[in-house]
Symmetry: C2
Subunit: 341 residues, 2 copies
Amino acid sequence: MNQHQKKDEVILMSHGGGGTRTKSIINDIILKNLGNAILAKLDDAACITVPESELALTTDSYVVQPIFFPGGDIGKLAVCGTINDLAMQGAEPRYLCLGLILEEGLPVSDLEKIIQSMGRVLSATGVSIVTGDTKVVERGQNNGLLINTSGMGVRCPGVDVHVSNACPGDVIIITGSIGDHGIAVISCREGLKFESELVSDVAPLWDLTHRLLKVIPNVHCLRDPTRGGLAAALCDIARTSDAGIRINETSLPVKREVIGACRMLGLNPLNVANEGKAVVVCQQEDAEKALDALRSHPYGRDACVIGVVTPAPAGMVLLETEMGGERIVEIPSGEDLPRIC
Amino acid sequence: MNQHQKKDEVILMSHGGGGTRTKSIINDIILKNLGNAILAKLDDAACITVPESELALTTDSYVVQPIFFPGGDIGKLAVCGTINDLAMQGAEPRYLCLGLILEEGLPVSDLEKIIQSMGRVLSATGVSIVTGDTKVVERGQNNGLLINTSGMGVRCPGVDVHVSNACPGDVIIITGSIGDHGIAVISCREGLKFESELVSDVAPLWDLTHRLLKVIPNVHCLRDPTRGGLAAALCDIARTSDAGIRINETSLPVKREVIGACRMLGLNPLNVANEGKAVVVCQQEDAEKALDALRSHPYGRDACVIGVVTPAPAGMVLLETEMGGERIVEIPSGEDLPRIC
């Protein structure tokens, strides 16, 4: 395929038939940018040898609109999202599977940009895509492309993080500002402009998490506050740990642009998705060391304590407001932000 | 949720927001029908302990239209397809991940039927869905539902099946009639009627494969001829094994309805997808034992030899026609059968 052809080429239904056209996508775009010894075999399943271990398995589909947004694209989002789901189990991300659902009419050059973007995250993190699948559907409302990534990681021995492990007296840490991803995507979709450009925080968090776990193996909970935002993450921790959580509004790190956009759009920053942040719950006496470890990493330099775990009211998250009041934080029902990841 | 509400309920964008509505789908439909101890934890990643082993990993997205077809539905297809990709590596399927992409407007009762259908295959095979993800997109052309399933299996020790292992002198076996799935789906889509009802062959093949491998651990290749049909599977074996393949048209098992429909639609049964068949390549001296093992299983009772592996022409598949001629079998380019799986 020469450069000129490629430039104007779009995805056709026949690219999904499993024949020679499917193979051209796989060879010219996928293998060229994501290739490794296992993927290159192009088997319907990849074979890998693992020692006795505890593995973490995860899957996520990505339907974000638009597919390119400030700070990232659907490909970077998919790879980071799967890496982060594994990292939040204290598992080192190793192998990813890639399911592409392409829409007829997608410019092949857009697909290539997205695959290259995935390749950059994979190179930086040492994670490999070992098997995949490509399907094509008719032109619809999906902006050209849906991605599923599933992944396997190996849990660090001796680490037992779980959302149900929060104990009264623990502190709640967030690794940086909240709402950046959701507001960056929705602003792009709605055509909002900011004085300074707000970008998505999408980032792979294993390196940061690993740095933390090396210092504090006894971290109680890790959770990335994606869909449903910080509110959903904290409510999950409170409910499954059967403990209360009390957070302080004034301590929440929220960028000025995010506050402004949320006011304009009628959103609560607590409900807006993040794609490069983690909630860390650990013992009070480990808090300083945890903050030092997190702040020593570029993705955690704004880490701060935002609250504490309390014995009561069990299963409930309370926000102490700036005005000195108190209100219950609830899981959003889901209307606010469709197709944010 | 009472029965009456459920009957009329459809998927809304808010079912994909990660909030309470997403949770209602997960609790009322997914956990109710697919629940197990690992899935019930509802973690973003499932943790499982494995002994030292060789694992197989696979992923596939399913975009079949229509989502209900004679003999199956998109749910049964997804679970069987992933089980079969693992089985074809000589791996016992263990854990599946489920990615649902729902379209706004999908009747919740249709989703429930599809999940129940997945549940039946899982119960029958002892495979578990251990983690999943649900997204919702606007109403489009996807008939309401796309599914990604990825899976992990444990390879049988001592088994070394691979598409590149075919040797001159080996025999080629197919486990039953070809083209049933593709023709069942496309006939349903095009409104074609047969005298007798043709149904998809969609079926989970691990039990059949395992029975074969216990008798003949030295099977050289296993391949399920899905997209691109038997032609694509054989071309892959010939190319990666650097050997020739010669098949005999008169020995190909093709149902009368499939031949008729192919004539009408201008299709070649060799290019039509199967979802419950396997190509087996083994040594000539193992052929009878292999056929006996396969025929002792309901999914292999029509197994037969369809050809042999030859030293030359390397990488090429030749068909000896009924008329005594010979023609080259090629991988279809992909135009014939969109959205068949």
